[in-house]
């Protein structure tokens, strides 16, 4: 077993040499990161010029032609999004390793509804959480006395306000849209959780949840993580997520490229533009049964928006694909009765729809 770098620093003998050892240890931590960040930035910067040269100069395709612009879009976006994802997932995973679900639950334990919903939505964004743990987390929260509505706010915010989506939206559409997405996602989670709490849905929760006792023991937080553990977690997460989403990503970018190159400029504007009041409704109707990762749906969203779909409509589409997924519903069925599950889907879908209309009004 290798000794983590930090331990060497802490074991340093005399104060003076101790400081130097600490500095060396710090440099050893920072140097690889700096190197990786520089390399990342260089590739990111070169991505545009590279595909300009390859597609337009080397292959001799016309930038205004369908094939030329479509192919350029595909190559450029694939590399750009892969780079963004790799960087973001790594940084977010490392940062998130300092927050735990157990600490989040402790923070939510004494909260009442209202304030609790707000806190739960915020914590839902920053707490590392996989929807495969939705059921034990739900039971754990409820058994610790967190109100159902507050727990649901957490479970809604967690997939809805997705860190990957935030950074991709920022990269593709700019700061304003990314901020609107975060704000509306939080609002949806707060309101939907609060409404469900008001409906006194306890009677629609499977009774065994309330009978679960913690045997009077506190949760073992597991082993404390070392710096190299956190780095390894970050690398693992990048690999896992990229391996899981690359087909979605390629299909999303491929569809995006097709729309980019082939769909007529006003095709979507005519059918689902800002003037069509039914557009967000259709978008959410299509989006709820579809399930995709934020990274897969965003290239498509970008292309649709470029072809005249209103921003609110495409955001509503994205949120409904990301927030409500069949696999998670099947898992949650173990603890929630069908009525509550239906209310859950209904309230979240309506909230997303409302945001879609709101964005179309104000943007």
């Amino acid at each position: 077993m290798t000794i983590p770098v930090c331990d060497i620093a802490e074991l340093g003998g005399a104060p003076a040499s101790g400081a130097r050892v600490r500095a060396v240890a710090l440099a050893r931590r920072v140097a690889p990161l700096l190197l990786a960040a520089t390399g990342w930035l260089a590739v990111y910067r070169l991505n545009g010029p590279l595909w300009d040269a390859v597609v337009y100069k080397l292959a001799g395709l016309d930038p205004s032609s369908r094939l030329g612009s479509g192919l350029h879009f595909f190559c450029y976006d694939t590399v750009k999004i892969a780079l963004l994802l790799t960087g973001i997932i790594f940084v977010v995973t490392v940062l998130r390793s300092y927050v735990t679900l157990e600490r989040t639950r402790a923070l939510l334990g004494g909260r009442r509804e209202g304030v609790g919903n707000v806190a739960a939505a915020g914590l839902g964004v920053v707490t590392p959480f996989c929807s495969c743990s939705a059921v034990p987390a739900f039971i754990g929260f409820v058994a610790a006395g967190v109100p159902i509505g507050v727990t649901l706010s957490f479970l809604i915010a967690s997939p809805l306000v997705n860190e990957v989506a935030i950074v991709l939206l920022y990269g593709l559409f700019g700061f304003k849209i990314a901020a609107l997405y975060v704000a509306s996602g939080l609002l949806i989670a707060i309101v939907a959780g609060w409404v469900l709490g008001r409906l006194h849905v306890e009677r629609w929760v499977e009774p065994f949840v309330f009978q679960t006792t913690l045997h009077g023991r506190q949760v073992a937080p597991g082993q404390p993580l070392s710096w190299s553990d956190r780095m390894a977690l970050g690398r693992e997460e990048v690999k896992t997520i990229l391996r899981k989403i690359w087909p979605y990503l390629l299909v999303g970018i491929g569809l995006g490229a097709l729309i980019h190159g082939w769909a007529p400029e006003d095709f979507f504007a005519r059918w689902a533009g800002p003037d069509n009041p039914l557009a967000p409704l259709v978008a959410v109707g299509v989006g709820v049964p579809l399930y995709s990762n934020a990274a897969g749906v965003l290239p498509l969203v970008q292309a649709l928006q470029a072809k005249g779909l209103a921003m609110g409509t495409v955001l509503a589409f994205m949120m409904s694909t990301v927030a409500l997924s069949l696999p998670e519903m099947i898992l949650l069925r173990r603890v929630l009765r069908p009525k509550l599950l239906a209310a859950f889907v209904g309230v979240v879908a309506v909230a997303i729809l409302a945001t879609g209309y709101l964005f179309n009004l104000i943007l």
């Binding site: 679900l101 743990s133 059921v135 039971i139 754990g140 009978q211 082993q223 390894a232 977690l233």
Partner: protein, 83 residues
């Protein structure tokens, strides 16, 4: 040594079980390995993130699939208590 793997049967739980078996083989230890898939029982251990590793009713690890060295370390630490 009684080892329980807590989890609903996702890929991570299978990975954790695999690592645990490998670690046991490395240490030349034998243990009863059982799987706990019932959500009520999982929550009873206070575990909110699966998969989790329970040795002799003690939760040693939850929420991630550790590497083999980590499991080996945990089992080594737990072994003297058991025998």
């Amino acid at each position: 040594m009684q080892i329980k793997i807590l989890g609903s049967g996702c890929a991570n739980c299978a990975a954790l079980e695999q690592r645990t078996r490998e670690a046991l083989a490395d240490l030349h230890l034998t243990a009863d390995i059982s799987k706990v898939t019932d959500y009520g029982e999982i929550a009873g251990y206070g575990v909110m993130r699966t998969p989790a590793l329970v040795v002799d009713e003690q939760v040693l690890l939850a929420g991630r699939v550790p590497d083999r060295a980590t499991v080996t370390g945990l089992l080594t630490a737990a072994a003297p208590r058991a025998s």
